[in-house]
Structure formats: C-alpha cells, structure tokens
C-alpha cells in the first residue's frame, strides 16, 4: 500500500528541521474533522477522496466515521444542538429543555429542521453537570438552560 503524505509535518532531528510524514494514518481523524466542520457531513465523494489520500479503502474511512458520534456520513443541520442527558442533567430538568427545543424547532430529537438550519440531538455528559441542564450548540457549551431560554438560544444562531 503506497503511503501518501496527507499532511507533511516538520520535525526537529539532530538540530535540523526535516519534513516527515511517518504518521500519515494518524492524521485521518483531523482531516475528517476539518471536512465535517466545513461541510457539515462527510459525503461518499469525500470519503473516496480521503481514502485515496491515505491509501486506504473507503470502507475503512466509513468505519471510522460511523464510530465517532461527532462525525457524520449524513447531512445534518447547519447548527447542531446537543442536549446533555446524563443523570445530573436529567435531575435538573433536561427533558423539559429537550421538549421545549422540539416544540420551538418543530422537530423530534434526532431530526433536522426542513430549512436545514438545526439538528437536535441528545448527548451523554458534556462536562457541565455543575451547571445543569446544559446544552452544546456547535462547539459552545451553555449552562443553566431553562425552557424559557430555549427560544433565545435558537435566535442567536445565524
């Protein structure tokens, strides 16, 4: 299998800067993450291109994508709203927050709005239990979310 250098890397060896690409495969996740960020999902075409880039079979790329919940092979909304449903959050009323999001966006959890703007998901602990209920909007962590704040959170996303 030919090794293709996806992202050349500069290292220092014997005091000199040299370019290496000895860890090609280990760059797979960062490459997939950047596609996910840009496109919102990883299309079949992108999977093939990434596979060619790394000299691996596209199925292998697919298997990696499906393992990680933040990588998606299906198109999702422009903004992904993830409501934490770990025990601390449930105790603090995360179900009410989810219901409010479902009502405001007119979708069920796991679905995307018709205009393609929002996807609503449940997620496990996001490390905000001290400020439960908490949600993650794209990369942003927002704590102490009440059903009353839901509309404002949606409006703030452009």
């Amino acid at each position: 299998m030919a090794k293709v250098c996806a992202v050349p890397k500069k290292i220092i060896k014997d005091g000199k800067e040299v370019m290496v690409c000895d860890e090609t495969r280990s760059r797979l996740l960062p490459v997939l993450q950047s596609i996910q960020d840009k496109e919102g999902y990883i299309s079949d075409k992108n999977m093939q291109e990434v596979a060619d880039m790394f000299g691996i079979h596209p199925v292998e790329v697919f298997s990696v994508i499906t393992f990680y919940s933040f990588l998606s092979e299906k198109k999702k909304g422009k903004h992904i709203i993830r409501v934490s449903n770990c025990v601390s959050n449930v105790m603090a009323g995360s179900e009410k927050v989810i219901n409010e999001f479902e009502k405001a966006l007119k979708i069920k959890t796991g679905q995307t709005t018709k205009d393609g703007k929002f996807t609503l998901e449940r997620t496990s602990c996001i490390g905000m239990c001290d400020e439960a209920p908490a949600v993650m909007v794209d990369d942003k962590l927002i704590g102490k979310v009440t059903p009353q704040k839901v509309k404002k959170i949606i409006q703030e996303q452009k």
Partner: protein, 411 residues
C-alpha cells in the same frame, strides 16, 4: 445564559492543598532540569502519586517502564477525554490551569525522553482549543517547548492538541491511542502495555490532566511535601466534581481520606438518599455508609460525585447509566456488547416489579461474568452501579413472586 469560558475570567480564585495551591509558572520544570532524568522518575515514585483518572496506577512506575525502553521515539499523551458522567474537573483545569498541566507534560517528556506530546481533548471541549494553542505558542516563545528547553541542550519536545469526536471509550488509554492513530477507538488487548508498545508502536505514557498538574507541584515542592497530604496509601488530593441535589455543585479539591459526609456538608446537600461515587461506572453508596472515604483503599474514583435526594428513583438513574453504556460500548467483546441490553431489560423488570428472586440471581451472576470477562474497563465496571443498588437499596424495588421467569425456573 453564559458561555463557559467567558465566565471563567471572573471565577473566584480557587483554593486547595495541591492543584489549586500557589505555584510560580515554570518552577516545577526549573527544578527537574537541575537533576538527572532518573532522579525525576525516582522523585515522582517517592511521592506515591497515582493516576487521577480513576484506575490509580502508580505514575512513577508508569514513567519508569517508559524511561527504561530503548526507543528513539517516545510519546507523552495527556488524557483530556474526560467523559465519565458527572465529571467536569478537567474542564476547570483545561480552561483555568492550562499552563500548569502542560508544564507537567514537559516534565514527563524530560523524565522518559520523549520528543512529542499530544493533548487528546474530548470533542465536547473544542471551544478550549484556541486558548490552549495560544498557551502552547507562549510556551514556545519562553523556551518551555521546542528545542533545548529551558537551556537544556538536547531536550526537544513539542505538544500537539488532538480532538476526540464524541466517543466515551476513547478515555480508555489503548482506545485513545487507537484514536490518535486514526482508527476506531477500540481498546487493545493488554499486554503489551502502552509504556512498551503505544502510539505507532512506540513507548507511550498516557496520564490524566490532573496527574500532570500534580506532577508540577511535586517537582517544585518535593515528594515529601506531597506525601504528607492525604492518607498513608493515597497521597495528595483529589479534585471532586460534585453535582446533583445540592446547594453548591462544583469542583472541590480535597485531601484523600475525606468522607462522603464531609463532601455533602461542603456542597450543602441535605436530605440525601444516596451518593454515586465514580460516575456511571462507579458505585451507589447508601446513607449507612456515608462515613466511607475517598481514597484508593476505600472508594477509588476519578472524582465524579452525584448526589441523589430522597425523592430520586435510583432505578431510573441506573437505567440512564446503562443506556449510556449501551450507546458507548465499542461492541468488540461479547460480555459487554450482549450483557448491557440484558441488564437494561432487568432494570425495566425491576421497575415494574416483574423480576423474581431467581432471575435476579441470574442477573447478578451475569454482572460478575461481565466484570471478569470484558476486555476493558467499560465492560468490567458498567455493572457496578446495578450491583450496589440491588445489594444496598432493597427498598427501591419489590421482587415478583410469580413472574414468568420464576415459573419457568421452578418448572
């Protein structure tokens, strides 16, 4: 509504005995660069520091194994993939104490002879990346990273931040390494251990964010100072992430040996039914055992403390935990993959009062099988909460006397 990192700037200065105690930037590294690599490992070993992620492997020993390996490429990995439900102490360290744990990584690199480090940051904490990158730049500028660090000739080390992508299992060190290599995050068989065969086959140490933070203080203040804090078998302090039914949830630094009672007082929790120690993979402690302590020899934990008030239904909680494990199990080994759905079904039966005495025995026996036969920590520890609830909270459920299972069992 507040975005987390903005609030951090106004957060009151934290206080604690080790991690949150005063220290000058670079003080730990400065003192280790004065001594030989072997002495650094010896100092960490002498401090009795154990891994803060929850498993509690002696840090000095881990470093010693990696330091002994004769390989030109070695790696230092910071496990910042905290995903245990109810844990958020690393969020505080990552956002408020980045220079501290990064310095700990540099110290580790010096001790084992590594040139490359990774911070494996959970995807949920992506918003911390810019600040971490800025800190790394700052360190390179101040000769705390890069070539000839701190003026020490030949000591070259750099750190790269890698993001996880929402997989709890990647907090397991071999799964984390698989993920770093660009694979599905499925745990490896051990041995070989990462200290011998880790990232891309090279010796690799994986330590928790909190462990690296403690290392800096030990390096600067000495193993003796550190060992004097805590209990005989558990040196130092533990960061506790306290949440649930209490007046003051948050991150607390406590010396090992602190009792549940004291924690509840600290967090202003009243009328408590049970305390979940160690998150979803931990155990549920009843009121009668609230004098038990946080320590490796008693309740060993990564720091997650979830408080359940009197009105909470513990079976709901354990169902939530098991559904979480069902979602996060990587699925490669049978006891974990096949066992978890059966446990969920059993909890549902218990809730409805449909589970009989004999079937419950079978379930406990399945729990034991999972603990013994699962490949990694996830499968081994996921039955813990259920077992502790079945044994300690008999009032939470009523056993059926004429369930179908019972009839089948009795013929």
């Amino acid at each position: 509504m507040k975005v987390k990192d903005k609030k951090m700037e106004n957060a009151p200065k934290r206080q604690g005995l080790v991690i949150f105690s005063e220290i000058e930037k670079g003080a730990g590294l400065e003192s280790v660069l004065k001594i030989k690599r072997e002495q650094v490992v010896a100092e960490i070993s002498a401090s009795n520091l154990k891994g803060r992620g929850g498993a509690g492997f002696p840090t000095g020993l881990k470093w010693k194994f990696a330091a002994q390996e004769k390989d030109e490429q070695k790696y230092v990995v910071c496990n910042a993939d905290e995903g245990e439900p109810g844990t958020f102490k690393d969020r505080v360290l990552l956002s408020e104490y980045a220079p501290l744990f990064l310095e700990g990584m540099v110290i580790a690199a010096y001790a084992i002879g590594a040139a490359q480090g990774f911070v494996y940051l959970r995807g949920e904490y992506k918003s911390f990346v810019p600040a971490l990158e800025d800190e790394l730049k700052e360190m390179r500028k101040n000769s705390l990273l890069g070539e000839n660090i701190g003026g020490k000739k030949g000591f070259n080390f750099d750190i790269e931040v890698r993001l996880g992508a929402g997989a709890y299992i990647c907090g397991e060190e071999t799964a984390l390494i698989e993920s770093l290599e660009g694979n599905r995050g499925e745990p490896r068989n051990r041995p070989p251990f990462p200290v011998n065969t880790g990232y891309n086959g090279h010796p690799t140490i994986v330590n928790n964010v909190e462990t690296f933070a403690a290392v800096v203080h030990i390096a600067a203040k000495g193993a003796g100072w550190f060992k004097a804090i805590g209990t005989e078998k558990s040196a130092g302090t533990k960061l506790l992430s306290v949440s649930g039914d209490c007046g003051r949830p948050g991150v607390y630094e406590a010396a090992y040996g602190i009792s549940i009672k004291e924690i509840l007082k600290m967090a202003d929790a009243k009328d408590v039914k049970a305390v979940q120690v160690g998150g979803a993979s931990g155990i549920c402690v009843p009121k009668s055992q609230f004098s038990r302590t946080i320590a490796y020899e008693d309740l060993s934990t990564g720091g997650s403390i979830i408080i359940f008030g009197q009105k909470r239904n513990l079976l709901d909680a354990v169902e939530n935990f098991l559904e979480f494990f069902e979602e996060e199990s990587c699925g490669q080994c049978t006891p974990c993959r096949e066992g978890i759905p059966v446990l969920i079904e059993a909890v549902k039966m218990l809730k409805k009062g449909e589970c009989g005495k004999e079937y419950l025995k079978d379930i406990l026996s399945l729990c034991e099988t999972m603990q013994l036969a699962s490949k990694c920590g996830l499968g081994q520890s996921c039955p813990n909460t259920l077992i502790s609830i079945i044994n300690n909270f008999k009032r939470e459920y009523t056993l059926s006397k004429d369930s179908k299972q019972e009839k089948a069992f009795n013929g």
